[in-house]
Amino acid sequence: MSWTVLAALASYWRRNPLQLVTLLVGLALATALWSGVQAINAEARSSYDAAAATLGEGSYAQITARDGGAIAQQEYIAMRRAGWAVSPVIEGRIDGVRIVGLEPLTAPGGLGPVNLGAGTDLGAFLTGPGQIFARAATLDRLPVLGAQRVIAPDVAPNTVLTDIGIAQRLLGRAGQIDRLIVLPDQPITRRPLSDIAPDLAQATPQGGGDVARLTDSFHLNLTAFGLLSFAVGLFIVHGAIGLAFEQRRPMIRSMRALGVPLGRLIALMAVELAILALIAGAIGIALGYVIAAVLLPDVAATLRGLYGADLSGQLTLRPAWWLSGLAIALGGTAVAASGVFWSLARMSLLSGAQPRALAMAQRGGAQAALAMALLTLSAVMAIWGEGLLAGFAMLGALLIGGALALPPLLALVLKLAEAPARTPVAQWFWADTRQQVPGLSLALMALLLAMAANVGVSTMVSSFRLTFVGFLDQRLASELYVSAEDAAQAATIVAVASDRADAILPILSVDRTVAGLPAEIYSARDHATYRDNWQFLRAMPDAWNRLARGKGVLINEQMFRRAKLDLGDAIALAPDVRLPVLGVYGDYGNSIGQVIVTEALFRSLYPDVTALRFGLRTTPDEAPALRAALRTEAGLSEAAMIDQAAIKALSLSVFERTFTVTTALNVLTLAVAGFAILMSLLTLAAIRLPQLAPVWALGLTRRRLALLDLLRALVLAALTAVLALPLGLALAWALLAVVNVEAFGWRLPMYLFPLDYIRLTALALLAAALAALWPAWRLSRIPPARLLGVFSNER
């Protein structure tokens, strides 16, 4: 019996291939967008984990020099002798590849190449030319180094592991160590660190790689977009399943009347859908892999540019990833079909057998009430919610509430439009358009969500861009930025520049924990460059003068929000140094807190820190001459001198790539919505002949009916676009004022871009017109016999 029923169910899809394609493509696209994003996230997390596992980041306490410089080998030896179980690490870059030198005999188990497997020969690793371990792609990027190359897929991307002695030789830093890994088990008899090496400081493990923490919000944003795309796709699936069910009502009733038990029928329909979901899921995963492979280089560039995180540019096909893709396809189908199964379980055997697809408008009242409840919930969470999850929950309630509100709003607007209509055709047009809304509502909701997402994200990105460009102009005021290799060269730079530059602004910084948060402490020389260009988000009166007198500090917005500081609150920079906050400045693009103190205070707090970077003020005309003098007289290489324009260009390029991924997902989401409209119109075209035939019989030509159908699609898309605009702006506000603050720690001002919205509306209208063109063309060519068939009693 089961095979007979399954074959009969399958026969429906054979006779309605378009619906089958709609269902499969809808689900495949939904799965593709979701699994593509997940593949990128999985690849990134795997890279972070590999880095953390290889380098001990986040797992072990670390000892570094207080001034951020190198640790002398003698200090390491002194610490070992004093009982400290520590292992030295040196890091550097050769041709952009991160070289990490470890000491395998003292490194904690699981770290480095000690456990890399059969290919590891400790003797060869430690002696002679030595061995370097890296992924094949990383080794390919390296020049000839004279060490034996060993392919090790477990090593973090873009990273080479080797013995510390060999790394010191390769990096030209003999006798230097960057940090010491502190093993978990330490002898209790060891002497305090301050006695042996007072210039060293120990940092406790962070419980997870720094990079993983920094990039969490980036991945959360990606996931949110993947989820939104998946939701748009699910609208299509829901529509296709619902339509198939409505059209199969008579068939289902017949089968039950002929002796198929209800339970068996539901189970077999579930099996049928599961098979379709698995097929669509498999296609979607393949598509998702392609999407991920295309986007991954941009994501890798973004993460490297923003956070310095190295990501493998190659995608790995992980079982957990494709299994989760299939699971989400199955789960999504189950969610989309749950209403249908509920309805099937409650369907009376003797109920009316005619399709009811066009009578679904009855649910309007309940839907409007649910929409209102969700929008209210969203508003409540916007006012009182806290945390990133609450931010995303607010976004979810806003978008779903907005989508659910669309059909009742459209029905209302169309009813108002119908009132002034005088001619019979106009009256019929508006009435018929209103009748089409339930059948098209899912596709229109998908369009609404896609457009709102587009408006929201483009507003956010453009606002960010505008703010960021202004911010760069403020912050990059110096005409030339130079870096010295050592203190001697720094002194030469100062000597050479002092005659030619209008001002020399040393850039001094240290990384410290301030107000319980990781932060950078910078010094600011009292100069007009800062006073004239920097703008405060909020500040006490006379902030610059008070800063110059050492009576306070400036903090960035991230520090202000995360540490919940306010103007006048005191923060501790040293046990005996507590200073009030004088002002808060915007610091877009930075992920951690920042504190600015006066140069004199900085030098007194951190006397060992030498300024190796400088901002040089001069007139733009004299900048090339200054540059030439620094090259010839101070021996600076071109790479050590960057002019203002180059830094701005570099910063902007990093920024542009940051949003390549979201823009691509946006476009894909809009394409999915366009596809939803096309499929809805095509399937509706088949079942609305009984509504068109009488109008045709009364004297409207098929061509005119087709043109009216085209116009109808445009009217509905235009109304949807109008309603999408406030929803999109609300989304933009939520992203800028809530999610961004929670995720990145800064709030951006919101700007409006009317031209962008007009262009987007035109795009949506074009998509709707294109989607409506084919069904309209088919209607204009429909054989009169099919229209006559509507009046035949034999139907």
Binding site: A8, R15, A257, L258
Partner: protein, 216 residues
């Protein structure tokens, strides 16, 4: 005894009067019965109760001695698959299956599919030429003949026909009726034909009239 109805009551929620107000009826194997009555007299409801498509509020409906009243949905579905065949006024063909697929469908469900028997039925009902067509490509009379073939293919013991010629002209109705009677007679099954046509009712040996939910 093939069918035994004892004091069957049926009413629907929200209505004050019962659709069936204590109907009792017996039918032997091979017996053919015409059930007539005005619209709304309860003919179709009675047929639905006998076919296990609906349940009575009280009374007993037994086929071959087995009471249908305590059966659940699956039990009643089993009855419809194997013992009772229903011919619906609206045909209830499966639109996505061909004529051949529709004829074989119920016999396959019952596990009694016999291709030779299907061919014979199609031949006698004049459907030979249409086996690969879909229902929408057939006329009303042809669709009704497919429905009859489908019902008779699993050789049910009791055939219930609900206005099987209601959508046909007089000539087609007569032809379909003759075929139905002959085919049922050959299988030795019982037949209950619901019709509002006195002329068709007169062609069956036994006749009952239903008025306001009671047999007369």
């Amino acid at each position: 005894m093939l069918l035994n109805l004892q004091d069957v009551f049926k009413s629907y929620p929200g209505t004050e009067t019962a659709v069936l107000g204590g109907v009792s009826l017996e039918l032997q194997s091979g017996e053919m019965l015409a059930l007539t009555g005005e619209s709304g007299s309860g003919k179709s409801t009675l047929l639905h109760l006998i076919g296990g498509l609906d349940t009575a509020n009280s009374g007993r409906v037994a086929i071959e001695g087995k009471d249908l009243t305590p059966l659940n949905d699956a039990g009643r579905a089993t009855l419809r698959r194997g013992t009772v065949g229903v011919i619906f006024q609206q045909f209830n063909l499966i639109p996505s299956l061909t004529v051949a697929g529709n004829i074989a469908f119920q016999a396959r469900l019952a596990g009694r599919h016999d291709q030779a028997h299907d061919r014979d039925l199609a031949n006698r009902l004049g459907l030979d030429e249409h086996l690969h067509k879909y229902p929408e490509q057939l006329s009303g009379g042809q669709q009704q003949r497919v429905a009859i073939a489908r019902t008779l293919a699993p050789r049910p013991k009791l055939v219930l026909a609900d206005e099987p010629t209601g959508n046909l002209d007089e000539a087609s109705a007569d032809a379909v009726m003759s075929l139905l009677r002959d085919l049922v007679e050959e299988t030795g099954a019982g037949l209950i034909l619901v019709t509002h046509s006195e002329r068709l009712a007169a062609r069956l040996p036994r006749r009952l009239h239903l008025r306001s939910g009671r047999l007369t």
